[in-house]
Structure formats: C-alpha cells, structure tokens
C-alpha cells in the first residue's frame, strides 16, 4: 500500500463494458456466419472477411488520421458492423462492392456522426441499402446454397422475390408458396442473403444475447407481433393475394433484422414503451413494403425509417419514476 485511493462511491463496477457487450454480439452471430459459410461456400467466407477487415481498417484510418482520436478498434463495434453488413449481402457479391458498403457503413453512417454511440442510423443497414440502390444487379444475385465446396451455385431468387414477381405476373399465391417447406424456411436451404438463410442459427444467437442480458426482448417481440397481426388480417381478408404470418415471419431479413439490427443500442429507443412503438413501426412498415412496395423485402428500409424517429420517441417516452405520477 503506497497511498490510499480516495474517490466517491460506488467503489466496484459490474465489469460489463462496451467491449464485452459488442464481443457478445459477435459471439451471437457466429452460428449464423458458420451456417452461411457451410451453405454458400468460400464465396461467403470472402464476403465475411472483406467486410470485417474493411470495417476495421476504415475505422482505424479515420480515427487515426481524420479525427486524431484514440483508436476505438478495441471496443469490437467495427467487427459487429462488418459481420452484420456481410450477413446482409448475397454470397456472390464482388469484394470491391463489399468494400464500398464498408466505406458507407463506417465512413458515412458511423464516423461522420462521431463514432460509436453518436450515429442516428444503423451503420450496417445504411451500407446495405446504399449498395442495394447503387448496385441492384449484384445485390439481387442470390444463389442457391450448394455447400462448402460445391460447384458454382446457380442463381435463385429469394422466396419473397419469387412471390412478388409471381403475383405481379398474375400467378396464384397458393401455387407460389407451395414450393416452400417449413423445414426449409427454418433451417435454410433457400436463396437469400447469408444471414437470412438460417432462422434457427440466428435465433440461437439471439437466445444467447437474451441470456447474457445484452439485449431485452421487447423490440424484437413487438416486431414479430406486428408482422403476425398485420399479415394475419391481410391473409384472412384476401388469401389469394397476401401471404400469411408463418411465411412472413420466417422469410427475408425479418429474423436477422428484428434480433440484431433493430435491437442496436445506439439506434433504438432507450425506454421500454418507446421500444415497443419502435418495433410496431418496423413491423408495420415492413409489411406495407412487402405487400404494396416495389421491393420484395422492406426490413432494412423499415428499420432505417424508424431509426429516424428515435430522438422523438426518446423525448416522448420516459420510464416511470418512483413516487411520481
């Protein structure tokens, strides 16, 4: 003992840090990443690698040379962004397109606002949507899974894409959905972005986050409930035009978005009430885009639109204070 430390209480800390939280999110995404590599093969590995490394490199360069700040790579948030971006892209995306996505995600959506904690929009989603509108050909080049060392995969549209196109061409909804089986929707085996293909792997990761108390379930549950209710109403009203709850909950980016993107701390409301409204908004906008929009999938847009309402929701909804009405 040299000299006694004198500082105000509390004198202990939970040891939960930004780093430990972000690392938990990375761990939670590992099952989905592994499944996607197993299904889509080495092309997917390249997308994952390029995305994560580009995000790390860009954050390093920007903090070091543009902002002259301490290096923030140690908080693992750039890894999270890289992983999420990669899981949102088709496995055949060329490496340079992935890199452009990382530039937009880290450079534009995250660092221009001041880095982690300051951004309004989810960086990985901004990157993805930028690529979607800039490189629509690459971004809709979905492949049928062929396994890790399988031959070059054939292109295959996503279930949501097939339905949208089929309905526009006057097809019967019952014929269009008949080709999709339950177990395929749950366990992958469909055309889609890497992170969309295995609901089970994503749900295992989400369960881990809940167990570790990294996230709370209210946002995710309110998205699911809204999607279920909206699609139930529409599919009952016009069964030949609108897909039902099970199909809508298990397809597209719904699981990935509701479990990992909408629950992003920085871009979701702080209060439980605000989070529930936020989730309802995402669920509703997603369904409106799926049913009536020109894109087959609307999860990314829905989350980004609701991201913009977060400051307002934080202003409107506060948690109940002890002893106050």
């Amino acid at each position: 003992m040299d000299k006694l430390l004198v500082s105000p209480s509390p004198h202990i800390h939970s040891k939960v840090s930004t780093k430990s939280l972000m690392r938990d999110v990375v761990f939670a995404l590992v099952p989905a990443a592994v499944v996607s590599v197993v299904f889509y093969g080495l092309g997917e590995l390249l997308v994952l690698g390029v995305s994560i490394l580009s995000c790390l490199l860009l954050e390093y360069l920007i903090t070091r040379f543009l902002l002259n700040k301490d290096c923030t790579l140690g908080d693992w948030s750039a890894v999270v962004t890289g992983l999420l971006l990669a899981l949102n892209l088709p496995s055949a995306t060329p490496w340079w397109v992935v890199f452009v996505g990382a530039v937009v995600a880290i450079g534009v959506a995250k660092m221009t606002f001041g880095g982690l904690g300051q951004n309004v929009f989810n960086p990985a989603l901004v990157g993805r949507v930028f690529l979607l509108v800039s490189f629509p050909t690459y971004m809709t080049d979905w492949r049928i899974p062929t396994g890790l060392f399988g031959a070059d995969a054939a292109s295959g549209a996503t279930p949501l894409g097939v339905i949208k196109k089929g309905l526009l061409e006057g097809g019967q909804l019952s014929d269009l959905t008949a080709q999709y089986e339950w177990k395929d929707l749950l366990f992958a085996n469909l055309g889609g972005s890497a992170g969309e293909i295995s609901s089970i792997a994503l749900l295992i990761g989400f369960g881990y986050l809940l167990l570790r108390k990294v996230v709370r379930p209210h946002i995710t549950l309110s998205i699911w409930a809204t999607v279920a209710v909206v699609s139930l109403i529409f599919s009952l009203a016009a069964p030949d035009k609108f897909t039902g709850p099970a199909f809508n909950l298990l397809t597209g980016g719904l699981i990935l978005g509701s479990c990992f993107m909408a629950t992003d701390y920085v871009t979701s409301p702080m209060s439980i009430k605000g989070g529930i409204i936020f989730g309802i908004g995402i669920g509703f906008i997603t369904m409106m885009i799926r049913y009536f929009g020109s894109y087959p999938e609307g999860m990314s847009f829905a989350i980004l639109i609701m991201n913009a309402t977060v400051p307002l929701l934080n202003n409107w909804f506060h948690q109940k204070k002890y002893g106050r009405a």
Partner: protein, 448 residues
C-alpha cells in the same frame, strides 16, 4: 423497479461477533448523527465512566453522546475524521472498564418492557439512539410522527443488501431475540398493529432463526403479536428505505415526502438492538458491530467495537493493512465512503471496514455513451442517468434537471456500477443534485 445484482461476497458471514479490546484512547465525535452537533457537558480533566453522558443534544434534531469507556477527558478539540476534515471530538484516555451505575451489562434477556410508550421514548432519547442503517437520523425524532400522520406498518430493515457487509446478519443470528424485543418496543411507541422484519433471501438462517424467536416470544406476551418476518428477493438496493417500503407495502413515497406519508416507519436491525439496550438495559450506544472484510484482508471479522476506537487500532488487531490494498471503505462497496485517514475513529454508524485491491476498485476509462439504457434499467428511482448526465454536462440546464427529477437520486451507485462506457454518472449527478436542491430550498425560503 431497477436494482442490480453485484456478487454477494459476504465472506465474513460465518465469523461470530467478537469483542474488540478497548484501545488506550478513544476519540468521540460530537457530530455523528444527522442534525445539530451535540454540546459537551464534560470538561478537560473530568473522570468519566462508560455509558456516562458527555454531550447533550444540540437541538431538536440531534442526539446525546456518551462515553464509550471509563477514563479521563484529555481534550475537547477538532480532530480529522475519516475523510480528513476536522470535527469536534472528545478525547478520553482509557483507565479500566468501569460502567455507570444502573447500566445492565449482563447478557440476560429481558422480555417484559414498560407499558408506557413515553417512558420508552425518553429512554431512547436519553441513550442517544440514532438510525444505524446509514443515515444516523435521531431515532427518538423518527418515532415521533408529526401531528396528523399515522403509522400503519413498522418495517425492521434486515436486508443488508450491500455486498460484503455481515454485521446485521450476525446480529440477527446472535442477538435475534433482543432485536425482536426492540422491534416490539418501537411498535408499542408507534401504537401500530403490524411490524415486519424484512430479510433478503440470501440469509435463510437468519429468517429461520427470527421465526423461531418470534414463536417463543409470542408465548410470553401478547405484545409480540403482529410481528412477522418477510423474505425479500436479493437485490441491491432493496434495503434502501424507499425501495423497502415499495417491496413490503407496495406503496411509493412521493418525491420530497417522508415514509410516514404512506404510513411507514423503517428502522434498521442494529437500531432495534440499540432500542432494546436503551429501554431494557439502560445502556446507551457505546459500542456497535463492525464488519472488517475484503478478499485481500488477512482475517475476516465481525467485531463489537467501542464508539471512538481509532480505525488503525482495529486494523492492527486483525493483522494490519495488506500490501495490495488500494482503497479502504467505511461501509459497503456501493455507498460507503473511502477512508483517507486511518487515525480517524469509529462513529455510532460505522458498519464496516472494507479492503479493496486496485483490480477490484479501478474504474475503466470513459468512452462514448452507447445508449444501451442499462443505467436507466438499473436506477431504483426510475430516473434516466444518461439524460441527467447529458443535461449536467451541457451546463445551465438546472430547470431541465429538476424536471427530470435529479433531486430524487438516492446515490445508490447502480448507474455507475452498470455503465459499460464507464461514464462517471453518479459523480456528475451528485453535483447537479446539490445545485438543484439548493434552488428548491431557496424557493421554499422565498415563499415563507
């Protein structure tokens, strides 16, 4: 609502309360309670006995102070307290251990107590009993509800929700009967039908023991009817007065209000014991149990310490300060105060000495708020520390801070404990709270 679950670390829980030898000199503070400091009634050179009054209450909200030893008054002068600030102290050189006549120092338990509440209250006042749960508010004042307010429930706080602390737990196990008798006395003073002894469920032995004690006492006298034990879920800060009232009675004390507004009076286990000593034994507060603990500390202990014992004497008795100690805390790790001066002496309300290493107590480097909301989730008052922090640091936002209830903060430390970005939330909030309370006081004064 809110709360956190730090590791219990009650490593001294199996250590029986042992009596610490009397030091050569004690230093008894004149201001060791909330309210006006006591006024000395002895002079330098006077001979005093243990239990003898040495300072009388300095106002309505104040408490009497007694000599904890027999000996000679050496000085009445300012002396540095544990934070290093000078406080008026009576220094007494110890000679033998002679007690004032009329004080019963035996262990005989006396179960029958006076029927007249006024008699009991006078004895509590004379004995200088203060709340030993942390606030050291004069107990006689708390047991005299303002006119028009009626107590519906007495809650004896046995939560001891701070990690490491075990003195209340040991008291419940070893002096449980005295605690219950003390509770019955308080209940009779308040003329209330119901009393609950609230204990967290991480202390099942204490819950069992008190239940047995109650069953025995009910056979002795109907005065022990209406007292029950309640097991509460372990959570910090469940033993906070407001949180405890909510947990036991499902009522919330309004902001700025008092527990009695919702019909509650809360007294700590150690206070109930002090009430027993005062009424049944004529014994003022001259000693109290202190947990001495920490992973790095050589010998864990629960000690019965005479008020005014120098901290260094206690620590040396147990083997001295370990090399790797970074911080010594008076009280628990969540709300206790860091000690700057080991020459300082114990007070009536000293509940623990906790030794922490650098690894245990180091704060991480502050980084950006990631808006995870963990601070708001942890706040037992339902406040939003992230928002209060932002408003405080923006400067000049005192009206906004008041609107967001910064003055309701109980300084439990849950926000800072949970913040993954290591933002010094409570440090910042404390400052603003002080400023806002100043404004509220000034406004109240202007109205008068």
């Amino acid at each position: 609502m809110g709360g956190v679950h730090p590791a219990d670390n009650k490593i001294s829980r199996d250590c029986k309360i042992e009596v610490l030898p009397i030091p050569e000199t004690v230093y008894i503070h004149l201001g060791q309670h909330i309210g006006a400091p006591a006024k000395p009634v002895v002079a330098v050179g006077d001979k005093v006995k243990a239990g003898q009054l040495i300072a009388e209450p300095g106002g309505f909200v104040s408490a009497a102070i007694h000599s904890s030893v027999s000996g000679t008054v050496k000085s009445i002068a300012p002396r540095k307290d544990l934070a290093g600030n000078p406080q008026m102290c009576v220094e007494i050189a110890v000679e033998g251990d002679e007690w004032l006549e009329g004080i019963d120092t035996t262990d005989t338990v006396i179960r029958e107590f006076p029927d007249d509440p006024a008699v009991c209250l006078d004895k509590i006042k004379a004995a200088g009993v203060v709340g030993l749960g942390g606030a050291t508010f004069p107990t006689a004042v708390k047991l005299t509800p303002p006119p028009g307010k009626k107590c519906e429930m007495l809650i004896i706080n046995g939560c001891e929700c701070e990690p490491y602390l075990t003195s209340d737990f040991r008291t419940l196990l070893e002096k449980g009967e005295q605690v219950v008798i003390g509770a019955a006395i308080i209940k009779s003073i308040l003329k209330v039908d119901k009393a609950t002894i609230a204990i967290e469920d991480n202390k099942p032995e204490a819950i069992d023991h008190i239940q047995k004690v109650l069953a025995e006492l009910r056979k002795v006298s109907p005065k022990y009817d209406g007292i029950s034990v309640m097991s509460l879920m372990k959570k910090y800060p469940e033993g906070g007065e407001k949180q405890l009232i909510d947990a036991v009675m499902h009522r919330q004390v309004a902001s700025g209000g008092l527990p009695i507004d919702v019909g509650a009076v809360v007294q700590n286990v150690a206070t109930a014991l002090a009430v027993y000593d005062a009424v049944q034994k004529n014994k003022p507060i001259v000693d109290n149990s202190v947990t001495v603990t920490g992973e790095c500390f050589p010998r864990q202990a629960n000690l019965l310490v005479r008020v005014g014992t120098p901290l260094k004497f206690i620590i040396d008795y147990l083997g001295g300060v370990p090399q790797d100690t970074a911080k010594i805390i008076s009280g628990g790790p969540m709300m206790g105060r860091a000690i700057a001066n080991l020459e300082a002496a114990t007070l009536k309300g000293t509940s623990a000495l906790l030794f922490l290493t650098k690894a245990q107590t180091a704060r991480g480097k502050e980084s950006n708020c990631i808006r995870c909301g963990k601070c708001a989730e942890a706040c037992p008052m339902g406040l939003e520390p992230f928002l209060l922090n932002r408003l405080s640091r923006a400067g000049g936002m005192l009206d906004q801070l008041e609107a967001n209830a910064v003055q309701d903060c109980i300084e439990c430390g849950c926000c800072l404990y949970s913040c993954p970005a290591n933002i010094p939330l409570l440090d910042v909030i404390r400052q603003s709270k002080g400023q806002v309370l100043g404004i509220i006081k000034a406004r109240a004064a202007a109205k008068k």
